[in-house]
Point group: C2
DNA sequence: TTCTAGTTTAGAATTATTATAAACTAGAAA
DNA sequence: TTTCTAGTTTATAATAATTCTAAACTAGAA
């Protein structure tokens, strides 16, 4: 239950009221040792397994959006017409397999940039992602 | 009319029958001095302006897919739930404005990578894209 | 000129997401 | 502790992008 309080405090510091739905979703997303790529569909299946307390799909959408705005999640760049999210919010990079359309993480120290452009006037860089398209 | 024949031949070499719809779409996409970012919606508006011969939306979808498979177009990676395409199929980079959802090209010599990972076994690198997310 | 596999088309179906508005609840204030 | 209300959740409807379907059309080989 200590963990629950920790999550509740984390949510409060972002101006998010710690409801039981948000706490349950946060537990599912962040209480793991590996970072996690997911879609709304996969998260929904994970949360709403029979026998568990149910959370509506609308709340899963709302919560993921709230967590992105709070900086807890990052949306992944893909060419699919479906949103993919990542619990790893640091600047990091992916292989994108054009055959299987699968994304895999690239360890951040495997990529180094020696030159980065200046952003357009009035804008600043939020993050930077290298996507390496691979094929057979 | 010579241009029309050139396009027709190009299409034939890719196993695409050069129909008048495909030729018209190819003209719109490739007969320009700058590379072109577009969505199905913008391409459709451009093609189906009143007074012009009309092409059905389904054909625009089909043709863009055929052109991607033929290697004439590249799908851009974004976090939008809408497909973006690019007539520039070489490795190149983009700014992605999270506010306006606009993509702009980054001149290739503005980005330099000093370290690139080895691709997974059995795969080779097709191209590499840096996406820099910007915001106000 | 005929024939047919490939292509186009309008419209229906599907999929992901966002909007709506009524019911519920966390937590501040009484 | 109880009351109150702004923030949250929810089922469902609406919207948006894309894919499917099957009938009509056509490029080009025979």
């Amino acid at each position: 239950m200590n963990q629950k309080k920790e999550i509740a405090n984390k949510l409060r510091t972002s101006g998010l009221r710690p409801t039981k739905q948000r706490i349950l979703i946060a537990k599912n997303l962040f209480d793991r040792n590996k970072t996690f790529h997911f879609t709304i569909e996969t998260l929904n299946k994970k949360i709403n397994r029979k026998g568990k307390e149910q959370i509506s799909l609308a709340t899963i959408y709302n919560t993921v959006e709230a967590f992105i705005n709070a900086g807890y999640l990052k949306e992944i760049l893909t060419s699919k017409n479906k949103s993919y999210y990542d619990t790893n919010i640091r600047s990091h990079h992916h292989f994108y397999d054009e055959g299987s359309k699968e994304l895999t993480d690239i360890n951040y120290n495997q990529v180094k940039l020696s030159k980065v452009p200046i952003p357009p006037k009035g804008k600043k860089i939020k993050n930077l992602e290298v996507v390496i398209r691979i094929q057979k």
